[in-house]
Symmetry: C3
């Protein structure tokens, strides 16, 4: 991974008044480019093959220029050029998936946020260590099927889009449904409603909801639209579907907006705080946008099942502000918040604190 030392060296050659914000043309790029432009940055769209034509339909979000590659892996060879153009890369999950995690960790270009966080979130054991270390409640892992006492979610290794995942309400049901020829994990199934909480942690702001260092923001929240799990009840109950050989799947196709009851906000901020403080201990801290993926139970307890340490696609709902971010600054999207953070860091000479 790029070291702090390297970051400082790159920064020496950067013209902080002439920064270009770049990302791969997908996922949340419309929002990122729109936000960057609103804060006065130049924008660069990275794409393999022809630039996507859909940008033409969204003139306010169309990047100023494209970096056209044959394949995303070629990006590694363009690092010097990107540095010369004073480029800051905004990572998102498509970027990391297409470019490769190892490439992403090693590319010698300035990246917004802390690359170490990506390493921690993408390793299930590390992620669990991080969250549990922070005192956060996660669904329990069940090593021995005999220990199944209530509903569980059973996941097969490497199943794309959750194909074949199933819920069982008891040990008996688990036993009847499980395919023992495949490798699986068993997790406590939490009944409740899903919330994807969009936070922003600034290591350079010392106002607002302050932590041991920097400050925490809640910009918005969404519920993911999962195909086909969300609407499959129209076809049959889980048992009826199994009998017919039909599998629920959990592929994200989009996002719906929502708000949480205000009395949950203290707990929601604590969760964010716990995640940030523990990350500061473990690896120098998550920086910028992150998302906690949670279930709110009927006891109003919140259980966390996953973490994303970068801008998530659910923020695309809020390109012109959200019921939360509007209480900070009217019309603030996560993309724009990222641009603002870079601007603030450039102005106050603290770029090394927000980049990696």
């Amino acid at each position: 991974m790029i070291t702090k030392q390297q970051v400082l060296e790159f920064l020496k050659d950067y013209d902080s008044e002439n920064i270009t914000i770049a990302t791969v043309c997908s996922h949340s790029s419309l929002q990122i480019f729109d936000g960057a432009r609103k804060e006065g940055f130049k924008t660069l769209g990275i794409c393999a093959g022809t630039p996507p034509k859909y940008y033409d339909a969204f003139p306010r979000a169309k990047p100023d220029e494209y970096l056209i590659l044959e394949s995303y892996e070629d990006l590694i060879d363009r690092a010097e050029e990107l540095r010369k153009r004073n480029t800051i890369i905004i990572p998102h999950s498509t970027f990391i998936a297409e470019f490769g995690k190892e490439n992403f960790l090693e590319i010698p270009v300035l990246v917004f946020g802390n690359r170490a966080a990506i390493e921690w979130e993408s390793d299930m054991d590390k992620e669990r260590k991080w969250l549990l270390g922070a005192g956060i409640h996660m669904p329990g892992k069940i090593d021995n099927p005999y220990d199944i006492k209530g509903p569980v979610m059973v996941e097969y290794e490497g199943a794309k889009g959750g194909k074949g995942f199933f819920v069982a309400k008891s040990y008996d049901e688990f036993n009847k449904l499980v395919d023992r020829t495949r490798k699986f994990t068993i997790q406590e199934y939490i009944t409740g409603t899903r919330y994807y909480l969009h936070y922003f942690y600034s290591p350079i702001r010392n106002e607002g909801y302050t932590l041991s260092k920097g400050s925490l923001e809640l910009l918005s929240m969404d519920r993911r639209v999962e195909s086909n799990a969300d609407e499959i009840f129209r076809l049959g109950s889980p048992r009826e579907l199994i009998e017919a050989g039909i599998c629920p799947t959990y592929v994200i196709t989009g996002n719906m907006p929502l708000v949480a009851r205000e009395s949950l906000l203290p707990r929601i901020f604590s969760l964010g705080e716990q995640v940030v403080e523990e990350s500061l201990e473990l690896f120098g801290g998550v920086k910028g946008a992150f998302c906690i993926e949670a279930v709110v139970m009927d006891t109003l307890e919140i259980k966390v099942f996953e973490l994303s340490t970068r801008i998530v696609a659910g923020t695309n709902l809020y390109i012109s502000g959200s019921p939360y971010s509007d209480l900070m600054q009217k019309g603030l999207s996560t993309g724009r918040r990222i641009a603002l953070e870079i601007k603030e860091a450039a102005r106050t000479n603290q770029m090394d604190k927000i980049l990696s």
Copy 2:
């Protein structure tokens, strides 16, 4: 309850150019304070113990000052101080629950809206009398289980968050599922889609959608997110869940935005009108924000299952306006509408008409 006479006396000492808007720091307080500030009011957050830290993250909604109590019941002793500060309290359900309904009815401070409405809505028999008296269709109550002819919802007395409530599709099913050792009520189960309709009734405006006195507005609508009922189909059908000993519950964790088809608006306005006109007959009228909680059936009939006579949390979605309120005034939230009403009443010397 505070009398009209007392209200008039309190008002004599109020400086209507120096009003402070106060509420308990929860529920819809961010929206209330944001709206109050936008209309130029001072704001006061009432809290038991330390003020919630999350306000720091939302600078536009943070109250100017706090009234810090040891327990909410102490508020009763601060009434004189509140009056001296020209305070108007905006009630919400957390406020009333924490402070106690009796205390709320009696505290000698000016309150936005009509306290009598709270008395009527919180008593199930009175609420039913009000709604049926207004000619509004509610789900039928079934006194004798033998009269069950279609789907019913069975509710146990005092069950928190609807724990143990169940639906039955027939008398036989009811019979199999009911716990006769507990006290229960049976209600017709209305199949359809839930809408929570956010109205505003102004007794001092005589333009717009006018009623016998004052005028009616529709500011927004939402669908409540209920844990765990909303997503429990992923685990099993009602029957499968019962067999596994798992209960659907109906605890509100948040809200999602929606709009109704425009052809429903005449009926939606009639419902609001009926509620207001009957309330004027019964107790001098609901005032300000209220919410009708309804199911729209596939016949496009609307059945009402509950009423809230104050700002509801679903309005938190619309802190920067809604598809309805934007057609009155761009960016109008219910919180801001409340502040506007107070401003208008102060300017035209009609404070007694909107407070109690």
Copy 3:
């Protein structure tokens, strides 16, 4: 149907600086009038009987004047008057349903969009020809029940609101459930999540996402709220409901907002492009607003089940802009986009290209 020649003749007498935008007072009329006013047009509300009172509650959307009819069919007699007032009619589905499709096709007044499109979309065979001709994937039609291999949706002819429609997961289930005394069609049941995609095709703009002629826009998207199908899982699974004699129904009562993952946008734009290009071949082209009603599968394939070639009610969510339209022009609704198109056509003398 009114010919191109007639359109040109009507246009000769129109004063393009003094246009009135008219529609029937329902469906999406609030949005249409709001958008028209924002672009400086006069507005005319067409209604049978008294104008709906709910307009009084939405002053920004209230039409300047009403054309009050005894019954919608009388509109045909007012055509000359409408032309003299330089009226352009914006059709929506309530308009067409109330007025009658034949009347709509024949009324000698200028109409926004291409009336021929309405003819094509309203005939199921023509619609299928159009979509399949465009290379778009639709759910398969199954002529012979013996060919049922997976889940199917069975629809009875003329069933209002989808009453009696049922899903079957296999031939056996179909066989058990079908009422062979009624006329039915069998369609492949696509599991996934529903998206209603709101497009705008401008034949007069040559910038943005350009097609063979004109340009394509994506203004927003929604999910329809269907009563009682959306929430009926709370009562029972499809099989449990059937046993209890309860039918799922599919009556639209409203709409919820959502966004699709950005990586779907290339496919979403291709779909729009295919629909437009094929329509140009078939009948001179859909013009203005249209909607593709689709299911996104867990493979991220998109299957199209229907088409609407006019403004749809789901756009009512976005009266002040959407996460997509805001990237073109802040606050742009479909209603306003229509008004903009008329303004642009009037200014550049191309009215004949957008009207029929």
